[in-house]
Symmetry: C2
Subunit: 489 residues, 2 copies
């Protein structure tokens, strides 16, 4: 196992010349960096965007384009859902146990306005709603349920509402339709950007103030001075083998990162180099959803002891976390003939094991302990007939006695199927997007936003689709304004 490479910072007196001087340097032009650049520029700061790729967009443009937003957005209104900042906060506070409750509360309080701002920039959102179960949609429908809002215990502490707002783009990379107008704004407002340019080190003085960056291009390296601040917004560490080895030992060879080539952890490693504290580094969203189709949620999921271990209606990333922790990382989706269907998730490779006439034969066929599956299914079906799931509180909508043989099982094991993953950890920050050290002291002049920062949820068990683009764009804006010396709200 090789060591995580943390770049050394450069002392100001080691800088022979500043190639450029600006107020705010933005590292990375995904959604967080772009929003930071727009706000800093509009607050009067001289901005320079430094981007490793040959153009803007980042992983945001490759994503499915879902923003987690609520509190009564125009789309929620159109779909007939009454949501409030309070309910959104109740849900996130209860499910995420966030490191900074006040940042989470601010995100909820401003969420509706933030949606309006995104629309004003030209990000397209339809006034449409999808009521079913899907991981993401291939058409332009906007609003859907993307998290654990209706799962237990969260449905008991906050009024559930759909909060996944997908930009009106086709296909699996609809995020690009959201990035296009934001990037166009940068061009329209003449915000300078340099491409094919990697930030390889931060310049930091003895008082820990970050004063600029060292940039590497194919022709050499140079320094850029940032009079007011540096905003790191260069994505996740999904491809950083050393950080994965160190913090995520449960990842298997069969797991595949959702990433673009620059997701090598440069952001979190630069942040650490200046004293930023990397937190939630064991946070992971491993997704191998069993749905669509939604009817499969009527089945049960058991481990190799023949025991259930999670409510089957949870968000797919929460399910993946639980599967990952089971004995042998083994799990089976168990169906009877009435709910049987093939999982349509094109990425997960859940294999049909076999079909059997009786539960006893299935138990033997899956090599489960004698009597275990028979007992588990009898208890579950008895509960389901009464419309309750005493063990894991699966929502009554998905409770059906599994008594209509023949039966079938899909192997959804973590190390047999394919789970796509996204890392959640990163630098600890406050509601202004400022980078914090071990004891939560802000590092002067340094901001970290987007996937380089720790997410609101500490673990993938609490994630909902859209909690990267939603908070990423929001805290990007706040960091941009704060770095420019402007107030928020």
């Amino acid at each position: 196992m090789s060591e995580v490479q943390i770049p050394a910072t450069v002392a100001p007196d080691a800088v022979d010349a500043w190639e450029h001087e600006v107020d705010v340097v933005i590292v990375g032009q995904g959604v967080a960096g772009t929003c930071a650049a727009l706000e800093a520029h509009r607050a009067g700061a001289e901005v320079l965007i430094v981007e490793r790729a040959s153009g803007g967009g980042g992983a945001s443009a490759m994503s499915s384009g879902i923003f987690y937003l609520g509190g009564g957005t125009a789309v929620q209104d159109a779909a007939g859902y009454e949501d409030s900042a309070e309910d959104m906060a109740r849900f996130l506070m209860a499910s995420c146990d966030p490191l900074d409750p006040n940042a989470t509360l601010a995100f909820c309080r401003d969420s509706k306005d933030h949606f309006d701002w995104l629309e004003e920039q030209g990000v397209p959102f339809e006034r449409t709603y999808f009521p079913g179960k899907a991981v993401y949609l291939l058409d332009t429908t906007c609003l859907m349920w993307t998290g654990n809002e209706k799962t237990w215990p969260y449905r008991e502490v906050a009024k559930p509402a759909p909060r996944g707002h997908k930009v009106a783009g086709q296909g699996e990379n609809a995020g690009s339709e959201g990035m296009k107008p934001l990037l166009q704004r940068c061009i329209d407002e003449a915000i300078p950007a340099i491409y094919d340019s990697a930030v390889i080190a931060l310049v930091q003085d003895a008082d820990r103030r970050v004063m600029g960056v060292q940039v590497k291009q194919s022709t050499g390296t140079f320094f850029v001075k940032a009079r007011r601040g540096v905003v790191i917004a260069c994505g996740s560490h999904n491809l950083c083998k050393e950080l994965l080895d160190e913090h995520l030992p449960l990842l298997t060879e069969t797991s595949e990162p959702l990433a673009i080539p620059s997701n090598d952890g440069a952001g979190v490693r630069l942040g650490m180099s200046a004293g930023g504290y990397a937190v939630s580094m064991d946070g992971l969203i491993p997704t191998g959803s069993i749905y669509p189709p939604g009817q499969l949620i009527n089945g049960i999921i058991v481990n190799r002891n023949g025991e259930r271990f999670v409510a089957e209606d949870v968000y797919h990333g929460r399910l993946g976390n639980f599967v990952m922790e089971q004995p042998g990382q083994t799990a089976y989706l168990i169906l009877d003939s009435e709910v049987f269907a093939y999982p349509e998730n094109p990425f997960a490779k859940h294999q049909l094991v076999d079909g059997w006439e009786t539960v006893g034969e299935m138990e033997a066929g899956l090599n489960l302990p004698t009597g275990s599956l028979v007992r588990t299914m009898a208890e579950y079906s008895e509960d389901a007939a009464k419309g309750e799931d005493r063990r894991f509180h699966k929502h009554p909508d998905w409770l059906k006695p599994l008594t209509a043989g023949p039966y079938a099982a899909f192997d959804i094991s973590f190390d047999k199927s394919t789970y796509l993953f996204i890392t959640l950890g990163g630098i600890k920050t406050d509601e202004q997007g400022r980078a914090l050290d071990l004891r939560s002291n802000a590092i002067p002049g340094l901001y970290v936003v987007g996937a380089s920062a720790a997410h609101i949820p500490r673990t993938g068990k609490a994630y909902a689709s859209g909690l990267s683009l939603g908070p990423g764009s929001y805290f990007g804006r706040r960091a941009g304004r704060h770095a420019a010396g402007a107030n928020w709200g």
Copy 2:
């Protein structure tokens, strides 16, 4: 920072002679080891207890003697509380997000019976109840509220019940009154034990089966063969500087471990040596309770930004976790003249900062950002007048507008006051107490219970007093029976 020392395992062919041969070796004679020994012995196994101290009891005997139990124990009945295994499970499942839900469910299901078993062994419990707020009681009163049962969001997902069952002993080390009868049973039943004897290595064959232990006494070392299994029950790593440095960087110099000298992490390190997976190692209970007296919960707690960050009525360990994460690890307890009192917690050293006529003067006196505390207190008092706490959902019982000047503040900062701490992490185990590896495969012949194993709560935010002795004694019993080859229940 020095490396964590993991002892090497010994191959069987490197064992020249077995000094003793038994069925089950129990490492440590605290509550978990003692219960394991009794059950293994009663199931017909030949048992040897190996204890480092000169007598049994361990940290359990030094503890305040609280067992977290429920589901309708005789004490709960006598106090007029209807509790059920189902409600206990709903609470623990929602608050602890346990690594092994089935182990947690089994603990809840058997909790009432386990209480009866403890009484049958002679552990004394009164039929008495304390309705107030305390960290622990100095008299022999039994039942009290010891966790987050009545705090949000848990009170909304499970019917709250008091589940802290304290043994009928006086003073702060009442745990000894619980250990005495258990140790006496070991003597009465002639279970062999050797003292002043440290297990320094496990004997493990090429198939990973644990076959015995290497014991060190003042006169030298020798090997003991365990035909059926080794049960590691030798406590926490509260004193293991290397493990603390590696996993708990937020601990301060002012924090003091609650520990006996043998809590050097021998258990978790022995478990790791044989391939056991150490989990939740960043789990911590840092306790610097603001109560008693309970009236102080009517105050609010703010960080150095003048913002609240937690409901003030949470369990003291949960509060400590939140304080630890605040900027500068700084926090103040803010009181008005109607709720003012001195905290009576004899261990925490919360200092009175000063008194002020107005909130504005207090804000200035505490060096909080201008307007921050005034805004926080105005919002809080407005909410409290309506009997609701929109931000953090403190229970209405503790909501009182803080408008009766003069005002006072206590400094409850993590690095200024003294927080006592207990670590929560350890070896991952299943409901039989078997040690599990990275992928949750059981290591043949190895069991880990008590504080050497990972607790049910993953973090101190979910802890309740009694969740060491309760599950420790229960899973100790199960490990003992399983190691002896007997079934459970």
